[in-house]
């Protein structure tokens, strides 16, 4: 993927950071989109550069249509196109359904699902023109299994899967593929916050017997981002230590 332009949202930390680093290592020119943590984004940029990749940072909120328009305008001015889009930006606002506030539901849907929609729509124009594109949406094992306390998150992540399949069908003839990746429990800031007892409970459900690493998700993203993956579209690929087998 030498010279390909890759946009990674939520690229400041966790899975997004690992994806940015990996794509940079493979020769992509990486646009890292992040919302608020300048220091973390700078750190990601340093890692991509250390891996030999070209990188630029773009700050904005994927849940805002206006921010997304602005970000993609800047990306097109900087790099001249978009070949690979990794919709990774995601948040959690966990709560039992009976206690869930509308704002908690909305925030999660807006960042995770609406953000994926805004960014994909913005990237389509240059991709259609180039008759080439690789869209990789980061869903979650929770979107497949559900999870107590995460009705909002599960809905957003399941929504991403249906969205991905529709995009795949609309654009298959234009050389554009769209696939979803469903990570299981990956060691990131999000899972690090879980209490020890919960972590033990989760481990019991993972056949491989350990949490995953961000790099292991990046491995699959990199695979789907390659030109040679052009015959794979509309798929949902698990990186979950065997939690869901389908």
């Amino acid at each position: 993927m030498r010279g390909r332009v890759a946009v990674v949202t939520g690229g400041g930390r966790g899975i997004g950071r690992a994806v940015a680093e990996r794509l940079g290592r493979e020769g992509a020119r990486v646009a890292v989109v992040y919302r608020s943590n300048d220091a973390a984004a700078e750190e990601t940029a340093g890692l991509v550069e250390a891996a030999g990749g070209e990188v630029e940072l773009f700050r904005g909120d994927v849940a805002s249509a206006e921010d997304v328009r602005g970000i993609f305008k800047q990306i097109l001015e900087t790099f001249g196109g978009v070949d690979i889009l990794v919709n990774n930006a995601g948040i959690t606002r966990d709560n039992l359904l009976l206690r869930m506030k509308d704002s908690e539901f909305d925030e999660v849907i807006n960042t995770n699902l609406r953000g994926t929609y805004y960014c994909t729509r913005a990237a389509l124009r240059p991709m259609i023109r180039a008759r080439y594109g690789r869209i990789i949406n980061i869903s979650s094992v929770v979107g497949l299994m559900g999870n107590a306390g995460q009705a909002n998150y599960a809905a957003s992540k399941a929504g991403i899967i249906g969205f991905t399949k529709s995009v795949a069908r609309e654009l298959a003839e234009r050389g554009i593929t769209a696939n979803a990746v469903t990570p299981g429990y990956i060691e990131t800031d999000i899972t690090g916050e879980l209490p020890e007892s919960v972590q033990q409970q989760i481990l019991a459900q993972i056949p491989v017997g350990r949490f995953g690493r961000p790099e292991e998700v990046a491995e699959v993203v990199a695979f789907l981002a390659r030109e040679s993956a052009g015959y794979i579209t509309g798929q949902t690929i698990g990186v979950d230590g065997g939690m869901v087998m389908q």
Binding site: R125, I128, R129, E170, L171, E173, R174
Partner: protein
């Protein structure tokens, strides 16, 4: 641009995008029926027109463009000065 130049340009874009011969395209050609464009082809054609002629075509206007002549009319009426 004169009307002829606009027509020539639209004919060239349509032939290129739809993979047909320029000689098959007349002002009366309907994008959908005669040139067999599907809805995504039409969206692409509009995008291309916007780019080539430096204009923005709102969706509700784009929907009214069904023939090559209508596309020429739209561009002639809305060309940036």
């Amino acid at each position: 641009m004169t009307r002829e130049e606009v027509f020539e340009k639209i004919r060239e874009i349509s032939a290129d995008r739809l993979g047909i011969d320029e000689s098959e395209i007349t002002p009366e050609s309907s994008f959908r029926e005669d040139l067999e464009a599907d809805s995504l082809d039409l969206v692409e054609l509009i995008m291309e027109l916007e780019e080539q002629f430096g204009m923005e075509i709102p969706d509700e206007e784009a929907e009214k463009i069904t023939t090559v002549e209508e596309a020429v009319d739209y561009v002639m009426e809305n060309q940036p000065a």
